[in-house]
């Protein structure tokens, strides 16, 4: 995206990689790979998360795979650790992902703490982040919206901090914009809202707050029309970003400053 006034390149830069889209999308919960690809194309997202799982050993040799529908020359994979509840499991998963993806080291770390809420376990997340950063991974990390924890993750060397807006898969939107603002204000790495976005306005609000991007899956995949919702999200991210760069007017409870001239009124 380009700043239309100053014509400055406004790419999202993560660990030295540059992206035009500030929308990052998951690949889960779609009806099939064809719908997955159609929705992602409609979203214009360049970074796509993938999960790492045991393959079906008995499958037919001709069974299509997700990566064939999302070729590496068109998308940047972001293997994640969804479903991991300990730092050891998360580290193991991402090392396997790196081997699977021929040394690709940009990853999403998430260590969950509770099966009902899917709240992250930040003690385990921090432990895993330290080891993964030392091991040469570029770690984008899912976190609670605690500004102190967010800063600690940055200090460890994570390349992007990804606080939740609300719980994974909840679609509840941005529940604590104040914490997000503090996190954004203190950060020197990209802040990407990850989880909780329900519809386009949620994504716009995140971007208007100054987030560098938004990562979502369920809001698109479980929309009644995922492909149309993906397009709506693309526009919401772009409009929210432009509004943030443009700088909103100050809020006032009321104004004695009408938009039309006060002179020349017909009397």
């Amino acid at each position: 995206m380009v700043d239309k006034i100053s014509n400055i390149n406004d790419n999202l830069v993560i660990a030295g990689r540059s992206f035009q889209s500030r929308l990052l999308v998951g690949t889960g919960k779609y009806i099939d790979f064809k719908q997955t690809r159609a929705a992602i194309d409609s979203s214009a997202a360049e970074i796509v998360t993938v999960a790492i799982r045991r393959i079906n050993v008995g499958q037919s040799p001709n069974e299509p795979s997700l990566l064939e529908f999302l070729p590496a020359n068109k998308f940047t994979y972001l293997p994640n650790t969804a479903g991991c509840y300990s730092s050891d499991d998360a580290i193991r998963t991402l090392r396997l992902a790196r081997e699977l993806l021929d040394g690709h080291n940009l990853v999403k770390l998430e260590v969950l703490g509770d099966q009902d809420t899917l709240f992250p376990n930040m003690v385990e997340t921090i432990n895993a982040a330290k080891i993964l950063v030392k091991d040469g991974f570029d770690v984008m990390v899912y976190t609670s919206d605690d500004p102190i924890i967010a800063k600690q993750l940055e200090d460890i060397g994570c390349c992007a901090i990804m606080p939740l807006a609300s719980l994974i898969g909840s679609g509840m939107g941005i529940l604590n914009p104040w914490n997000l603002e503090i996190i954004i204000d203190k950060a020197n790495v990209p802040i990407i809202v990850d989880a909780g976005v329900g519809t386009a306005s949620d994504a716009s609000i995140a971007m208007e707050l100054g987030c560098d991007g938004v990562l979502m899956n369920t809001a698109i995949a479980l929309a009644k029309n995922p492909i149309l919702m993906a397009s709506a999200m693309k526009k919401a991210i772009e409009s929210g970003r432009e509004a943030f760069i443009a700088g909103r007017m100050d809020k006032k409870l009321y104004s004695a400053s009408p938009s039309s001239p006060t002179k020349g009124l017909i009397k």
């Binding site: 045991r54 050993v57 396997l96 992902a97 699977l100 990562l215």
Partner: protein, 67 residues
């Protein structure tokens, strides 16, 4: 011999089998995957030189849809 593959024991002939042979028997040639033997990742470069023995625990993973 029996090898534990992704949580299920599978019977193979002989006393050992190379990674390459296992992949062929499982119809995985041309597929994208990574393999772990008893908790250690096996690099693609060593598929022909590493053997699986009776009781080994193998994980074969791939990428699937997820958030």
């Amino acid at each position: 011999m029996k090898i534990n593959i992704n949580g299920n024991f599978k019977e193979f002939e002989g006393k050992k089998i190379t990674v390459e042979e296992l992949i062929t028997q499982l119809n995985l040639n041309g597929k994208r995957f990574a393999i772990e033997k008893n908790g250690e990742i096996i690099s693609k470069n060593y598929f022909s030189g590493i053997y699986f023995n009776d009781g080994d625990k193998i994980e074969i993973i791939g990428a699937v849809g997820g958030g």
